[in-house]
Symmetry: C2
């Protein structure tokens, strides 16, 4: 099988209490593709400017990510500049320069249109809908979004959710989209919008999944050093979708393992800036940490 | 075995988005004793005024809680008035009237001095130390505290912690006491103060336990309706200590099960105001919810 990922490819400038990096590789499609590539073949659709460093292309190619859908356009690559305070839970955006990303229209290569899994990273929901119009008959569609689209493109977002199997949001986005502070009730509301499964990312507090008949609570890995939370949510989604692509269907056991693998990769990702740690993770390490997640949350029946 | 609990007995006036109650039964020693009484014999030390309603004494007696250490003193019972906003994570204290609790000096009855487990609920750390001076040779001592004592009685609190096996704090108290925002590092610092085990309560995000060589992450029960979070932390601690009193030692499997039982009882407690729900919980229900916690957090190995 094969996973199609559509979203931003960026050059990030990031400051955290532990250091600072300038114009490093970033973007939701990059984090999610690299995470997913540990498990499956990934096809990336996005756009970069003619200034996009060759070494980044090489990094993605080295992970066998199919870049036929990565358009290189005259102009500058999307730039994001952000800062994290000590609590590391919320990024403060200092500057966003959309550049070539401003006119991005997802053009899905013919060879990608048979993709069975689709991850729609956070972009304008109208563009996310355009992706789905081009993909023939995906088995599993997952999407992310952000506060900006919830505020400004609510109707398009609600239309999109009708075609989505799994919605992956953080807790603040979940509350904002549903106008409901209680996450159990919010998950029920989200389900009524279309998606069968709601996955809520809570950062250092782990992940919740609601299936309509059950709830799964995944722990977060307790890290002593978190250097850079950038991309953790996208890494989670990529690891989740990548592992799911190796599974036989959306059975609950598969979904739960996929959530743990997503959390495993996110926990590696935040250990260094940009994709420095994530791009070095190999499957053996990921399995070891998966087992640590098991030890972390295991208790005996009474 | 037998569990000694020392702390406040109060009449609470509480407002939440779901309703309002006036002068209902409350206090840390009450919540923790009632929770613990599901598992073991509890001895309560505290003070109330001559206005303390007889029905509350009857409720505690009906749970077979030993009240020989509950002093009834001429005057008024401790009153607390608080309010919760929609997020329900933080109480806003509107009024505190210490009344007879102001001059409370824990006087441990002779018959209680052989207690093997001691839970020091949140009171002045100097008084918590006085309790330990009176108990002969407790096997397990656990304590709670609050921001006020961390600010005003830091030295006494640090002295106390040398004699404590298990410190049970919420995340904000942990960060405040250690001056460390990262909870993994904070747990290491707490361990250097004396306690072998650190338990960090994170409200709707569950509980973490650090043992020095391992970490346990317990989920919170996802509730659709939380009517009143008052006493959830004390209920957790009481359920935890009560179950531990039935176990053979501080083995990690026992500690983890005790944390789940504490979380189970806390999840019941918040379903209604005051002790209305907690005082009705029976062991069968608690076991059923324990199993729900298992289903909530279970995933298969890879």
């Amino acid at each position: 099988m094969s996973l199609l990922t559509v979203g931003s490819v960026a050059l990030d400038t990031v400051k955290t209490p532990f250091g600072e990096v300038e114009e490093v590789l970033g973007g939701a499609a990059v984090y999610s593709s690299v995470a997913a590539s540990l498990f499956t073949d990934v096809r990336l659709v996005g756009v970069v400017g003619s200034d996009f460093p060759k070494e980044h292309i090489e990094l993605l190619s080295a992970r066998s990510i199919d870049l036929a859908g990565l358009k290189i356009q005259e102009g500058k690559t999307f730039r994001w500049k952000g800062e994290y305070e000590y609590d590391l839970n919320e990024a403060k955006t200092l500057d966003t320069k959309l550049n070539v990303f401003e006119d991005f229209r997802p053009d899905i290569p013919e060879a990608y249109r048979d993709s069975e899994l689709v991850f729609l990273a956070n972009i304008d929901p109208e563009l996310q809908l355009q992706v789905l119009e081009q993909v023939k008959s995906p088995k599993i569609v997952a999407c992310d979004t952000m506060n900006f689209w919830i505020e400004t493109k609510r109707e398009a977002l609600l239309k999109l959710l009708k075609y989505v199997d799994i919605v992956i949001l953080n807790d603040a986005e979940t509350r904002q989209l549903t106008n409901e502070p209680n996450l159990v009730k919010a998950a029920n509301i989200l389900r009524s919008y279309g998606p069968r499964y709601t996955i809520i990312k809570k950062g250092e507090h782990g992940v919740l999944m609601f299936t309509g008949s059950s709830c799964f609570s995944a722990p977060a890995y307790p890290l002593e050093y978190i250097f850079d939370p950038t991309g953790a949510g996208d890494t989670f989604a990529g690891g989740f979708m990548g592992y799911l692509d190796t599974c036989d269907g959306l059975g609950e056991a598969n979904l739960r393992q996929a959530i743990i693998y997503g959390s495993v990769l996110a926990s590696f990702n935040v250990e260094e800036f940009s994709l420095r740690r994530l791009s070095r993770v190999h499957l053996g390490e990921a399995k070891d940490r998966f087992r640590e997640f098991k030890r972390l949350s295991h208790f005996e029946e009474v």
